[in-house]
Symmetry: C2
Subunit: 400 residues, 2 copies
């Protein structure tokens, strides 16, 4: 049986491909410490559980296709609280940020169309773009420049007649880069001048360490036609399994096109939307400050531990809970196999996400890894220690 050429071109998640080796390592009695998956261990707020438990209707019916009213209103009020005025008509409830991206790209991309994305990027963007028949043209960055991408010289030469959109992740996964106000303005200007959609994935909005206020591309009223924001409760409220997100745009025609898909798939889950509404209604600045503080402790632990490792290079992350690290090895995929199959220290080893899967340009990222710092500082310090011991053992064995 033949399959779609578009799905054939997609790959499996680089974050999950080592799973069978992890299972095998555990079967040998190894303890595996995780730096590979962005699954926060912070508690999901009680407001979510309470709203779900309090549901007292006899039936769980379809939600309206654009979303449950209280959820849309709660998202609207949240945006108002960070100084951004949107109406409920500018919001569509989606299955997490993922569906918001899928819907936006399906509305925009035809076969052969191009999307600019700074690399390294979140690998699932590649799947979402490819299934539409489009493809990613990477905006190159370098570890030496801290993966910063917002410059005309870097971006404009890549725009051609098939370019339809730019996707950015701000704060950045996997880089931890946070755009400055000037960089945000520049990205909007480039999108406007070239008639492109600017799809801004802002699911880590509150997780910023430089004292800045939470920012959104929706703050640029003059770019109403261009800006599409992807949002989610997953990271903001540590509820990744609730699968409630939003696509936001003031572009009325885009929202009308998106509604066709939303009506087609009927609705996002009703109870999860109610639970998410309750979180938005009750948890704001003070809550975000405490979560931010917790992630900052974790970031500091990781950075401090990494600084002790010889020949390891990285930039201190400004936001989200990831960073890219350049290791003194030939190939971080090979190192990962080594760590799972051969290495151990006191019965323990460590996993990360090898860098290559975050790049669109073949061959790039081979000596880089992405670290997700979502566990407690003591565990993170031990994981980085294991990484250092593993690198030494791997290079020793190669030389030997």
């Amino acid at each position: 049986m033949k399959f779609s050429s578009k799905i054939e071109a997609c790959g499996l998640s680089p974050m999950r491909k080592f799973y069978p080796y992890e299972v095998a390592a555990k079967a040998k009695g190894r303890k595996v410490l995780h730096l590979n998956i962005g699954q926060p261990d912070i508690e999901t707020p009680q407001a979510f559980f309470q709203a779900v438990r309090d549901y007292d209707q006899p039936n769980v019916p379809y939600a309206p296709a654009p979303g449950v009213e209280v959820y849309l209103e709660a998202v609207r009020a949240y945006y108002a609280s960070i100084g951004i005025s949107v109406s409920c008509d500018d919001i569509l409830a989606t299955y997490g940020g993922s569906e918001a991206l899928q819907v936006a790209l399906t509305c925009i991309l035809d076969e052969g169309d191009e999307v600019l994305i700074p690399e390294p990027f979140y690998p699932n963007y590649d799947t979402f773009v490819r299934v539409t028949g489009g493809h990613i043209r990477p905006i190159p960055t370098t570890p030496e420049e801290g993966y910063r991408f917002a410059s005309r010289e870097r971006i404009e030469p890549l725009i051609n007649e098939r370019t339809r959109a730019i996707i950015i992740t701000n704060p950045g996964n996997p880089t931890g880069v946070v755009l400055s106000p000037e960089e945000r303005r520049l990205m909007v200007d480039i999108a406007k001048e070239h008639g492109l959609f600017l799809i801004s994935d802002e699911v880590y909005r509150e997780i910023v360490y430089g004292g800045e206020r939470p920012a959104s591309m929706l703050e640029f009223d003059d770019a109403a036609e261009n800006v599409v924001v992807v949002d989610s409760v997953s990271k903001r409220y540590s509820s990744t399994g609730a699968r409630v997100g939003a696509m936001l745009s003031r572009n009325r025609e885009l929202m009308a096109q998106a509604m066709k898909i939303c009506q087609g798939r009927l609705c996002a889950a009703t109870l999860d939307q109610l639970g998410s509404a309750a979180m938005y209604e009750t948890l704001n600045e003070a809550y975000f400050a405490s979560v931010r503080e917790e992630y900052q402790r974790r970031r500091d632990a990781v950075v401090e531990a990494l600084e002790k490792l010889p020949d390891v290079r990285f930039s201190c992350p400004e936001g989200a809970f990831y960073l890219m690290v350049t290791l003194p090895v030939d190939d971080t995929e090979k190192l990962q196999y080594f760590l799972l199959e051969e290495f151990e220290d006191q019965g323990e080893t460590v996993m990360y996400a090898p860098g290559e899967g975050f790049y669109g340009t073949p061959g790039k990222g081979r000596n880089e890894i992405r670290i997700a710092y979502v566990t407690n500082p003591a565990e993170l310090r031990r994981a980085i220690e294991l990484l250092g011991l593993g690198i030494a053992a791997y290079n020793e064995r190669k030389r030997g």
Copy 2:
């Protein structure tokens, strides 16, 4: 800004396009009886709510991409209980039946590929097919033949080198047709002989009125490569807003391709999967019998009421909770506007889904409607009475 030619070709749901007129009618104080939407009023089983309430982990994490283990195992055991052997690897948890269809079609269809679907068909199929760049070639049926479609003479002439799949809905929405064992075998044979996928949407499986056992295309072991089943808790357990479904296939390569999308969108909602697992674990034959009995009462009420209307033609539905009805009017869309804008009887009027939106062939279905019988018999009788009065008033006004 330019949009994808694929999304431009999609339409809004014909079930929802009269919503603004409904709002206006209600604003005038009219009571609107609904025959238009398949939202059952039967209670969602307590097992769902109990499992969701009993969740006692501090965090709602991502589920595994293919589904929560207890949900996959519960679906497997349910299939075993109806005599069908599948392994958990043959099942992917999806956001309702809708996502199962989206995933399957994305894996199969390239730009310009064709899917055969008996018309009238569930209109959202059109959206799911179009966003892949494919299109539907309708298998024509007639009201006079009770919309039956399973014959070689009807189907084989429509197959060409771009045909990739046949989608069927069994029991049928909007027709209420239930395939006989011989018809099921024939559909499988056609798919096998022509190397096509047979995508069988079986979300109404238990709702059959002829005393037959619940059937699935998965029962044909010799068509393991061809058969894809779309399933959901929405109608089986009256929980449409839970958005938990499944894509099932023994075609390993298809499941591997589908996994790329499932990993990309991360997972279906965790709590809803746990609630759905609890329903599958505790509610089977006796529960289905009571639900079936309830719908049969409703079907009988609708059929009896329709038989009293002059010049109205229909076939008695064998399954699901829909039927197509041919009305003695020129255009059922115009009649719907009339019913909402001008007609009333004791302050009441009625809505249905006009037939044209269920056809792929332009101009067909203009004097047909789809009725969903999902409310209580008394309300259904009154709704049909209003329909009869409305038809008479509409035709009277046209003549006058």
